[in-house]
Amino acid sequence: MPRVFFREALSRAIAEEMEREPRLFLLGQDIAGHGGSYAETRGLFERFGPARVRNTPVAEAMTVGFAAGAAAAGLRAMAFITYLDFLMLGLDALVNYAAKLRFKSAGQLTAPMVVKATAGAKGQGPTHAQCIESWLMNVAGLTVLAPSTAGDAYGLLKSALRAPGPVVFIDHKKLFPYGGIVPEQEELIPIGTAAVRRVGRHLTLVAHSYMSVLALEAATQLAVSGIEAEVIDLRSLWPIDWDSLTISARHTGHLLVVEEGQVVCGVGAELAFGLRERVPELRVARLGARRMPVAASPALEAYAIPDVQAIVCAAQALLTRR
């Protein structure tokens, strides 16, 4: 099976879906001639033309609103928002129009659109580094995806581009330098399915996006001291794959949820409570960003968000807690 860069997995998924669905068009900053902030749309403008690959001004509210309106009117839109932080400007159109459209119109209208945005800390400071996935999980009508591998990005983006309602597809700055395996033939990954990345019996480590990479590294370190962690990559933040998570939580009896966003009302809060409802004897712990903005300073950035060592320590603390 071919090995590709993360960006190539995205561009292949988009190109295949644009071939399949002539109503699908793209819009966003620098996606046409420039080929996208991470070269993830390279070649698409040349291949599909200016009507289907449209540059937008630095105006995220307009970009998301335009996508929502076009989708409601019968097209299928994919909007590129450079950093997830900037989606805040487009939340009104996304939350109040796109996500609610199906409910407000009693199912007569839908907004089949994908908003792709890049999250995560990588030296770019407090307004270019945030992980606000949990805000989006809170919105009824929104699907939220956050893959961690090139293969999952490919398969999930294809599913997202066929979904009936709005999807926020979140990637991460630190995932782009990785290569990964994608299938030879076209393949979709169903929305709402988590992936067990490593099998273990002592605790369940749940993460998404780049934190899945760190969780796997932490599991490797934990194994040295005899702790076998089961690592589950959520992939889909909403809907949540409760079945897979519940099976693992029952098996290990201990749950550590790791995220790059804030712990307060975070992804981990929802998972911990939801799994305690399903597995009442489960011991849970959460790990996420400290309650501070992510700084541009490398030292302060590292202080703010979890790293491998923090995951290892939190896992050990969970297992030794009385």
Partner: protein, 97 residues
């Protein structure tokens, strides 16, 4: 050796060998091209040398720090055993485009 100071590159893909094993390189000759997630990198010889052994094929993936080729001053110079680390690492220049 793939340059270690490659920003945040984690994996790179070898695109093109500009020389074949046994060929001579002048200082400044491009030896190979590889690709990071965001840049095309040309690796050039910083001094005259002979390309003795290529360890990766075009299209293969490598990591910063991997030995990609052995170069020697003279064509007949004995080579280290396979897998051995040569005593002297030849520095190569590289341009990021």
């Amino acid at each position: 050796m793939i340059p270690i100071e490659l920003g945040d590159a984690i994996e790179v893909r070898l695109l093109l060998w500009c020389k074949t094993e046994g060929q001579l390189l002048k200082a400044g000759d491009t030896l190979l091209e590889f690709e990071t997630d965001k840049a095309l990198v040309l690796v050039s010889a910083s001094q005259p040398a002979v390309l003795r052994r290529c360890f990766y094929r075009e299209g293969e993936w490598m990591k910063p720090g991997d030995t990609v080729a052995w170069l020697s001053d003279e064509p007949g110079e004995p080579l280290p055993r396979e897998g051995a680390v040569p005593g002297e690492q030849l520095l190569v220049a590289f341009d990021v485009t």
